[in-house]
């Protein structure tokens, strides 16, 4: 299955298609519609309807066990943006997303290029890089919680080199500029979570890039070699530009995973001291289901949804247009 990632915008053919499709509906066509109708209704209700309902809850006063759906305006949103914890969440999500995507892209491309060198034991290496994806984020969280525990393994190793890291228990924020209620900068503890997340998800970008590299015909490389290009030049001038659309896809998929991440952080570190590893997903869960602040929780979830939609909606629309 060759990935055709984000095909370029094409138009013009859609008119002809719709003219052809405006034929009369026969029994089978009606039946086919009846087949997918339950799914359409289910998604309309359980995705779109429930999002609308969450949006409504986020504008209500329902911040206790007893549902109170009286209109509160933007009160819950205003509360969040002034809230220390939510400000910390935004900062953490920003840096987590940034480093996570960079790590996955860099390691993914590097390993894919390595694996593409006609090496021996390729499938063994490939499986070693892929298998973490079959694990649950919970399992990953439990293992890495132990691995990066300041009192254990990896740290003993690093201490021998004079590095003494607190990993996810560090409360340091670099550089820690005061901004509104929080210290803005890179929370050191987030790095530990990025390592675990990247360990699990690198396989995805390796698979994507490798499929992209394999789709490039050998003749193109041959021709470049004939023209005297070095291997390095071939990659830089020919191969990397050709796999660039894959980068767009990987960035979008990884960004949406990182913006809604919950289980890994919940299992590995929790919110952390001073909320240095907290993310909106964890905050939403705790405030809604542990604290009964339903309206606040709904507001967090709507902000999460909007942040994901910024990436996903253009992606879906452009791939739709490219397909027809």
């Amino acid at each position: 299955m060759e990935p055709k990632v984000l095909p370029s915008f094409q138009s013009g053919s859609s008119l002809a298609v719709s003219a052809k499709k405006r034929k009369k509906w026969n029994v089978d066509q009606w039946l086919s519609f009846a087949f997918i109708l339950p799914s359409i209704i289910a998604v309309a209700v359980f995705v779109y309807g429930f999002i609308a309902w969450s949006g409504y809850v986020s504008l209500s006063n329902w911040n206790s066990l007893v549902p109170d759906l009286s209109f509160a305006g933007l009160k819950n949103y205003l509360f969040l943006f002034k809230d220390f914890r939510f400000q910390a969440d935004l900062r953490n999500t920003l840096f987590f997303t940034l480093f996570f995507i960079l790590a996955v892209l860099f390691m993914g491309l590097l390993l894919a290029v390595f694996l593409d060198q006609k090496i021996r034991g390729e499938s063994l290496f490939r499986n070693i890089f892929f298998f973490p994806m079959a694990l649950s984020f919970i399992v990953t969280g439990v293992i890495w919680q132990w691995l990066l525990n300041p009192a254990t393994g990896v740290n003993l190793f690093l201490k021998k080199f004079g590095l003494d890291s607190l990993w996810y228990t560090s409360v340091t924020v670099i550089p820690g500029i005061q901004w509104s209620k929080i210290q803005f900068g890179i929370p050191v503890a987030v790095i530990a979570v990025v390592i675990a997340a990247a360990w699990q998800m690198t396989g995805f970008s390796v698979a994507m890039y490798l499929a992209g590299l394999r789709a490039i015909p050998e003749e193109i490389r041959e021709a470049a070699r004939m023209d005297g290009a070095t291997e390095f030049q071939i990659y830089r001038k020919i191969i990397f530009p050709m796999v660039a659309p894959i980068t767009v896809s990987v960035v979008i998929i990884m960004a949406h995973i990182s913006l809604k991440i919950f289980d890994l952080i919940y299992a590995m570190t929790g919110p952390g001291a001073n909320f240095v590893t907290d993310v909106p997903g964890v905050y939403m869960f705790e405030t809604t289901f542990r604290g009964n602040y339903y309206a606040n929780g709904a507001a967090i979830s709507i902000i999460m949804l909007l942040s994901v939609a910024i990436f996903i909606v253009p992606y879906l629309i452009s791939s739709r247009k490219g397909e027809s």
Binding site: Y48, S54, D263, G281, F285
Partner: protein, 273 residues
């Protein structure tokens, strides 16, 4: 040629070092899970256990067994149902396209990217009303509904490779929508069902957010139980690691034996083509 040999050696060395990094967590998980408590000291973390001690597994299994069963009761029907539904949807949206069907498909797809937090509060209200809250059937229902986008996408892409001429000539021979599905599509769908089945199995087995919010104690699937195990301070690391391995084992085995299909699903799930 010398340069080539050197660079090949460096390439292999790098690959081996990186492989060791990716395997390290599994190595530590394994050896820790096999050690008795007095060997879980910091200085011995990387050392192999002095003797094989399976008591941690016994303990972890005792604690996780009921939840393991819950996961099995959840994952099998949920996977089958969502694969069937996906196949039907994929068939219609690839072979019985109508005006606007591509946009319906795109609108369906949006459902697989949303953060599920954004539907969770209404969903739980709904499940309470329907009497499905805190039940395995409730979780099955949730996974089937929210599995519609991804399974539809996978099957639609899969069926796109079945030539249109086959369908057209079947129609000319008088076959209707059911006959074509039964005699042409289904027999060609085996790989599709395997890919989608593995994908849904892995995702549903590993899923946590729905599991932790929709079920409590005795109804909880394995991942929630594992999280509770590691969340409690009483349970020791060696037991946690044994539990983590037990919880991961089904999906790991699926990956080891059917990894090719898993990766196919991975690529199909992220990409429209």
């Amino acid at each position: 040629m010398a340069i080539r040999t050197v660079s090949r050696t460096i390439l292999y060395l790098l690959l081996i070092v990186l492989s060791l990094f990716y395997l390290m967590p599994v190595y530590v998980m394994l050896i820790t899970s096999l050690k008795p408590l007095d060997q879980i000291s910091l200085s011995e973390m990387w050392q192999l256990p002095q003797s094989l001690d399976l008591s941690n597994y016994q303990l972890a299994f005792e604690k996780l067994a009921p939840n393991l069963m819950n996961s099995i009761y959840l994952v099998i029907p949920a996977t089958l149902l969502s694969a069937l539904l996906g196949s039907l949807n994929g068939y219609v949206l690839s072979k019985w396209k109508f005006r606007g069907s591509d946009w319906i498909f795109t609108a369906l797809l949006f459902g697989m990217f949303i953060p599920y937090q954004s539907i969770l509060i209404p969903l739980i209200q709904f499940l309470r009303e329907a009497g499905l809250y805190n039940t395995i059937p409730g979780l099955i229902f949730v996974h089937v509904v929210y599995g519609i986008p991804i399974t539809t996408l996978m099957f639609r892409n899969f069926y796109a490779s079945i030539p249109e001429e086959m369908i057209e000539s079947a129609k000319i021979d008088g076959a209707g929508i059911f006959k074509i599905y039964q005699h042409i599509i289904i027999p060609l769908s085996i790989t599709g069902f395997v890919v989608v089945g593995i994908w849904q199995f892995t995702n549903i087995w590993n899923e946590f957010l729905f599991a932790v919010t929709i079920t409590t104690s005795s109804q909880q699937p394995i991942m929630v139980a594992l999280q509770n195990l590691s969340g409690s301070q009483i349970v020791q690391w060696n037991v946690q690691m044994a539990g983590a391995l037990l919880a991961a084992l089904p999906t790991l085995l699926v990956y080891i034996f059917l990894g090719k299909f898993f990766v196919k699903g991975l690529l199909a799930g992220s990409v429209k083509g």
